[in-house]
């Protein structure tokens, strides 16, 4: 069903009086209003002027005036209607509070049953919310602690896997000497440290950043004193580039202070050295 075309200016003007006098039926009145909104502003102004003239024209009306007492009656009826409508909305706006203080000065007015119910429900809800909040905070704290412990354990496991189960004996023993090797130009990011326990002569090598090159084999060697050409190869190992640990077993060195340590690659190039 299509809507009819909006009325023309002539039709709008012709029916203007009928519209304002309520003589159009519901459908026609809606059609008139729709047509009014489609009309140009000048036509709208013309219609509004005509309708206002018709509405305010008293020439066809009786000459009787309302009784002065009617004013009070009308105002009272309207006020009552407003009060009735307001009281319908009141419970929504006044949960937990009385709207008017009683005349005897006691501001505590008993709540209706529904008000008491809602007040109790609000308190219960607030309590439940508080308990859940506390539980959440404690759970979060516990979770953080568990993560922390797991991280520590995981770190130890990784070190044990990389370096071996006895690495702690070397790292934290007071008799252990740490000899740091310095990288040469061939592999400037390589690192290595040798831990030697002077009491037991057990030694441990930790490397990092030794990239796989050529055959991937490296050799740790030591020259016990300056001028001594007797180089002793202690350990041949392959590196994957990450942190790695190698147990060197018992290393008998006469003087750690004068010994010189080197890590060379498979071509004999010095990668790291202690001096």
């Amino acid at each position: 069903m299509t809507s009819p075309e909006p009325m023309t200016r002539k039709e709008l003007l012709e029916l203007a009086a009928l519209d304002v006098l309520g003589l159009l039926d519901e459908y026609e009145a809606a059609y008139y209003t729709r047509s009014f909104h489609h009309a140009p502003a000048t036509v709208q102004d013309e219609i509004k002027r005509i309708q206002a003239e018709v509405a305010s024209d008293e020439s066809l009306l009786p000459g009787e005036e309302p009784d002065p007492s009617l004013r009070e009656r009308v105002l009272a009826v309207v006020a009552k209607a407003i009060e009735r409508e307001t009281s319908k909305l009141a419970p929504l706006a006044t949960i937990g509070r009385a709207r008017h203080a009683p005349a005897d000065g006691d501001s505590r007015v008993p709540l209706p049953a529904s008000g008491q119910f809602w007040r109790a429900a609000c308190f219960a809800l607030a309590g439940i919310t508080l308990v859940f909040a506390m539980f959440y905070v404690r759970a979060q704290h516990y979770g953080n602690r568990v993560s922390e412990i797991a991280l520590i354990n995981n770190t130890e496991a990784i070190l044990e896997e990389l370096i071996g189960p006895t690495y702690k004996d070397f790292l934290f023993d007071p008799d252990t000497v740490h000899i740091v090797l310095i990288a040469g130009s061939a592999a400037p990011s390589a690192k290595a440290v040798i831990c030697i326990n002077e009491r037991t002569n057990e030694a441990f090598l930790i490397t990092d950043g030794l990239r796989q090159a050529g055959t991937g084999a490296y050799t740790l060697s030591v020259v016990e004193s300056a001028g001594d050409d007797s180089r002793k190869n202690l350990r041949r190992f392959a590196s994957t580039g990450g942190v790695q640990g190698f147990a060197l077993g018992t290393v008998a060195i006469a003087s750690l202070a004068t010994a010189s340590w080197q890590i060379v690659n498979s071509t004999g190039q010095v990668i790291l050295t202690s001096a």
Partner: protein, 212 residues
């Protein structure tokens, strides 16, 4: 912001009306009317009083024209003002001036009231003689017999018969145009035109009489 009465600017910055163009004054009046209805809708007692002061006379006269007794008209006026409060938030100054809105609400309410009370007159034919229409106001009621509409009835007597009958039935008795069309067995468009032209002619004659 414009002052209603003063011609001098005041501390609130009101602009003298003498300086306002017609368009500005119209706009200002529309804004004032919209504000008034906004306050009425909010239940502002002072606004309801202002609305009553402005329109009570007009509303009462319309009610008196359509209802047979003063008490009925007074009851209707009370209901109309409650209705105006209920519909105040729907008032749109772009669609109509406030007097138009008040008249529309009043007339519709009165017509509904007439219909609710089963105020129905015996059907008279298109050819019926003036003064023969009867209603349920009472067994012998007829607007032609009522002094309060004497001015209108004098004017009606001078109209072509179709216009007179259509105005009686639609304007005074609250029949819909469709009902009038069926009663008179005349096309709806003809009834509309007759009513529109008849009302226009009535108003012209009434104005001419007032001027004399």
């Amino acid at each position: 912001m414009y002052c209603r009465e003063s011609r001098r600017p005041d501390a609130t910055g009101c602009k003298p009306q003498a300086d306002m163009s017609l368009q500005e004054r119209t706009l200002s009046m529309n804004q004032q009317d919209w504000m008034l209805m906004h306050r009425v809708a909010a239940g502002d007692e002072a606004a309801v009083v202002e609305l009553y002061e402005r329109f009570s006379s007009l509303v009462f006269k319309v009610a008196r024209q359509l209802l047979p007794t003063r008490p009925e008209a007074e009851d209707a006026v009370q209901e109309i003002f409650v209705r105006l409060w209920q519909t105040a938030d729907r008032y749109d100054p772009r669609r109509a001036k406030l007097v138009t809105w008040v008249m529309l609400i009043a007339r519709r309410h009165l017509i509904d009231r007439i219909r609710r009370n089963a105020v129905r007159r015996t059907t008279t034919t298109y050819q019926a003689e003036p003064g023969t229409a009867k209603t349920d106001h009472g067994p012998d009621y007829s607007p032609q017999e009522d002094e309060r509409n004497s001015r209108l009835l004098q004017q009606l007597a001078g109209l072509p018969e179709l216009q007179r009958v259509v105005i009686e039935r639609a304007y005074l008795y609250g029949f819909t145009l469709r009902e009038v069309s069926e009663q008179l067995e005349a096309p709806l468009g003809t009834v509309k035109s007759a009513l529109s032209r008849g009302l226009a002619r009535l108003r012209e004659r009434a104005k001419a009489d007032w001027a004399m």
